[in-house]
């Protein structure tokens, strides 16, 4: 088991390393000069631009040969230094990203987990009756085929501006500053509902379909046949099938984590929700190397972390996996 875990850790570290290298490499392979970009924003006020260009170039290490830039990048990373933002200068990327991260997490994690639970439950529920299955299935398909942003816009329009039920911008009222009070939490939740719902519902469809397909397979498996042969009622057969069908779904959860990022980015843009997605979108349009990299890094880190967590959790959830490791 130790062996297995250390192997996993190694793989994840390697993946992380590759990710950060890609992260470093891509912008440097592309045309354009981010420092210039920065200065041109500055030119409306300052006078001595050429000097400033040299100064910033040095500061961002752009004047060094590529390889030492890379080493510098890695060295800075180990110190948690992700560089300095250009469009949000002089804020550090670490500060910007760490401020935005909690918002993204509290939006996406509950959306994924709850859609996972509810979707699985509904999928299993629908799979038991042909009639129900046939009527509900198209609904799941349409949900999962809906672009996150389209649903976000519809929800914002209908529940937000037409019915005036939920606020449609920000993470909490503009009339507030964050505080650890109940009324603030309620306000926060009130703002959270719509962005959450738009991710939740799209995800829900996918989980329900996945669960439905798996349940149909599991109900056809030998162990289900045996249970029926022993006269076990349908309830037990289904319960066992559900229990096993959940396991591949958990692996799917790891994959979905990467996918849900899409939902998070577009949803955050629509609702002006101050998470990583919004930062990323802004940084892209402003061609802010460092923030794009920092946001990417954060997303990768979260997805890798969650994947790792699921990998490890899987050992405890699935005896088959655990058993296959005893030989190690």
């Amino acid at each position: 088991m130790k062996k297995y875990i250390s192997r996993k850790i190694f793989m994840y570290l390697l993946t992380f390393f590759v990710a950060i290298s890609i992260n470093w490499l891509i912008p440097r392979m592309m045309p354009g000069d981010p420092i210039l970009n920065l200065i041109s924003k500055l030119s409306r006020q300052a006078t001595n631009n050429a000097r400033l260009y040299a100064e910033l170039n040095q500061k961002f290490g752009m004047d060094k040969p590529l390889f030492s830039q890379y080493l510098l990048y890695l060295k800075n990373l180990t110190q948690g230094d992700l560089g300095q933002s250009i469009i949000f200068y002089p804020k550090t990327v670490a500060a910007i990203v760490s401020k935005a991260l909690p918002y993204s997490l509290t939006l996406t994690i509950p959306a994924i987990l709850l859609s996972f639970l509810v979707g699985n439950y509904l999928g299993a529920l629908a799979a038991r009756k042909k009639m129900l299955d046939n009527t509900v299935l198209p609904f799941w398909y349409v949900l999962t085929a809906t672009p996150y942003l389209w649903l976000s816009m519809l929800l914002a329009w209908l529940l937000g501006s037409k019915l005036n039920l939920f606020p449609i911008s920000g993470a909490y009222s503009f009339s507030r500053l964050p505080s650890a009070t109940l009324s603030f939490v309620l306000d926060y939740l009130h703002h959270w509902v719509l962005p959450f719902a738009s991710i939740f519902f799209v995800q829900l469809g996918g989980w329900a379909i996945g669960m439905r397909n798996l349940i149909i397979y599991e109900l056809d498996a030998d162990y289900s046949k045996y249970l029926r042969a022993l006269g076990a009622p349908d309830k037990l057969v289904r319960r066992y099938a559900y229990r096993n069908a959940r396991l591949p779904q958990i692996t799917g959860l790891a994959v979905q984590l990467g996918v849900v990022v899409v939902g998070a980015i577009t949803t955050e843009v629509v609702f002006g929700y101050p998470g990583i997605g919004l930062i990323l979108a802004q940084a892209i349009l402003g061609q802010d190397y460092f923030v794009v990299q920092g946001a990417f890094l954060m997303v990768v880190l979260c997805v890798l972390g969650a994947n790792f967590f699921i990998d490890i959790a899987y050992i405890f959830i699935d005896p088959r996996v655990r058993h296959s490791m005893i030989g190690d």
Binding site: P34, K99, S161, V185
Partner: protein, 570 residues
């Protein structure tokens, strides 16, 4: 087991919800609706540094918290006292005597003195607007300071008198000048002199709280009705519109809102400066900038033909849904009292242009740009293919729409022009390096106390290709006479308009004859307010609040501050 697992997951979700709270204050805040004015439009990014002398200041900081010496009434073209009672040029023409209002204090209660003024204008090098031509700053007494210039650039200096914030010496003297722009003052260090102090901020907002001990209550006999001003980061267009119509958490927006005419018609609570078209006051001019280092843009006849080919009315009517004014003539000046003295209509009439595609075709034909291969598109006189692109940054939707109209116009006169929407980074990069074909830009062409700012933007510099151009002559139009004229303009005192107009006439003559940059349309000062909570917003009629309605950075000083002090609770 199933149930327990579900419980764990729910608990996890609940736990995560509390995460963002951990890092924040313990005291509950809920601003009363009637105490607060919510505004958006001027803040384009998350609040970064509360350092007033950097370029990326959060909107409102300069104006609400840090004050300039004077303000400028952009509607009536008058410099008005603010921190300074007056700023008067002395007889030598090189010394500017600044006299502070009595009782000016910092928000911590300490007095704001002439020392601070002197410090502000002598501190640092590239964070100082007068660096290079301010000789000394002599503190005469507690209230008086003489700024002595080696080369009095009257118009530039005038501009900065109402823009540049006075900073507290006691804080900034601790910061080495070369680190000035890196300095991030904490909220405790953010000691300004203005009517509001920063109460707090988050990713998408900055909250300013009224300073009830503000010196100006007595010193300027002026007060601000709103206990708080909440600046909200610019939001998606549709969100802004929805929030404006609800008026629940948004009172005023200073951003371009597509579809506004249709929307205001159905929402009586919405208020714009003009009731109908053009809805908004003019604020800045957008220029079409050809790259003079490239063929065929180095051909004056060609540039003039382009000017005739563009249907600016279409831009106003379609791209902007009549939300902006149409230009009076082709000089490219704002219809603004501060510039009125320079609106030399005769030059425009004799030398300028108007939409006339026949004339454009005639000019092109005459210059030899004819369709020789019969494909409907013109070629160079030597028969080689002619095509070019015109760029605006991706995502600037109103500009993108306008550009589509422009390139369509060009095609209508047989020119193979393509709209190009690079992202902002590439746009700027190509602009600064002079690698574009044509682009649209408006950076220095904003409402100011003198059209000098416009001509400085367009004509004051020349940088050959290979070096980076920062000021505004991105097309590398090389005309030394013109450059000298602009400098000359700057050296004529503000009040000698006749003398300066003689120079401006020369500039305009060259501009219209040579047409290095083509003025296209006049962007509006986007402004729309909801009157459910706050009323008496600036408006053409029926409002006592006759002030320039803008809360953009550096526009508080030309009207925004005055506007805020004159709105009323419903």
């Amino acid at each position: 087991m199933q149930r327990s697992k579900r419980f764990i997951l729910l608990a996890l979700a609940a736990l995560l919800l509390t995460l963002p709270l951990a890092a924040t204050a313990e005291k509950e805040t809920d601003f009363g609706r009637k105490d607060t004015v919510y505004v958006t439009g001027g803040m384009w990014s998350i609040p970064t540094s509360f350092n007033p002398i950097t370029w990326s200041v959060p909107a409102g900081l300069r104006g609400l918290t840090y004050e300039s010496l004077l303000t400028y009434d952009a509607l009536s073209d008058q410099l008005k006292p603010w921190l300074a009672k007056s700023a008067v040029w002395q007889a030598d023409g090189k010394t500017l005597r600044v006299t502070l209002n009595p009782g000016t204090t910092w928000s911590d209660g300490s007095p704001l003195t002439a020392e601070d003024v002197a410090f502000t204008f002598t501190y640092g090098a590239w964070s100082n607007p007068f660096a290079g031509y301010l000789e000394t700053a002599n503190v005469i007494d507690d209230r008086t300071c003489d700024l002595v210039f080696s080369d009095p650039a009257y118009h530039s200096i005038n501009l900065n008198l109402y823009i540049w914030p006075i900073i507290p010496q006691k804080i900034w003297s601790q910061i080495p000048a070369e680190e000035a722009t890196d300095f991030e003052p904490s909220l405790e260090q953010s000691i300004g002199s203005g009517p509001y102090v920063i109460e707090g901020y988050d990713q998408d907002r900055v909250v300013y709280q009224r300073d009830d001990d503000w010196w100006g209550i007595k010193g300027l006999e002026r007060s601000f009705p709103a206990k708080r001003v909440v600046y909200i980061k610019s939001m998606a267009n549709n969100v802004a519109m929805a929030m404006l119509s609800q008026g629940r958490e948004l009172d005023m927006a200073n951003n371009y809102v597509s579809g506004l005419p249709a929307f205001t018609a159905n929402n009586p609570a919405l208020h714009t400066y003009y009731k109908g078209a053009p809805y908004n006051l003019p604020d800045n001019i957008v220029f079409l900038m050809p790259n003079h280092t490239k063929k065929p843009f180095n051909d004056t006849a060609f540039r003039r033909a382009l000017a005739f080919a563009i249907n600016t009315d279409d831009i106003v009517e379609i791209a902007y849904e009549n939300m902006i004014v149409k230009p009076e003539n082709s000089l490219g000046l704002l219809p603004h009292p501060g510039w009125a003295a320079y609106n030399n209509d005769d030059i425009a009439k004799n030398l300028g242009y108007s939409f006339n595609q026949d004339e454009a075709s005639r000019l092109l034909d005459a210059a030899g740009y004819r369709d020789t291969d019969g494909d409907g598109l013109r070629e160079y006189p030597d028969g080689s293919a002619l095509s070019f692109k015109v760029s605006v940054p991706y995502g600037w939707t109103d500009w993108m729409d306008a550009l589509r109209i422009i390139t369509d116009n060009f095609r209508e006169v047989g020119l193979d022009a393509r709209p190009d929407f690079p992202d902002e980074g590439r746009y700027q990069n190509e602009m600064v390096k002079g690698e574009f074909d044509m682009l649209l830009n408006n950076w220095g062409a904003y409402r100011s106390s003198s059209p000098f700012s416009l001509y400085q933007f367009l004509f004051s510099t020349y940088t050959p290709v290979g070096e980076d151009e920062w000021t505004g002559n991105f097309g590398r139009y090389d005309n030394e006479t013109l450059r000298n004229l602009v400098q000359e303009f700057n050296r004529i005192p503000m009040d000698k308009t006749q003398e300066s107009n003689a120079i401006v006439r020369q500039i305009q003559t060259v501009h219209m004859q040579d047409m290095p940059y083509i003025p296209l349309w006049i962007n509006g000062m986007w402004f729309v307010a909801n009157t459910n909570t706050w009323t008496n917003w600036p408006g053409e009629v029926g409002s006592t609040n006759q002030n320039y309605p803008s809360l953009w950075t550096d526009k508080l000083q030309i009207g925004g501050l005055w506007m805020l002090s004159e709105i009323k609770l419903k």
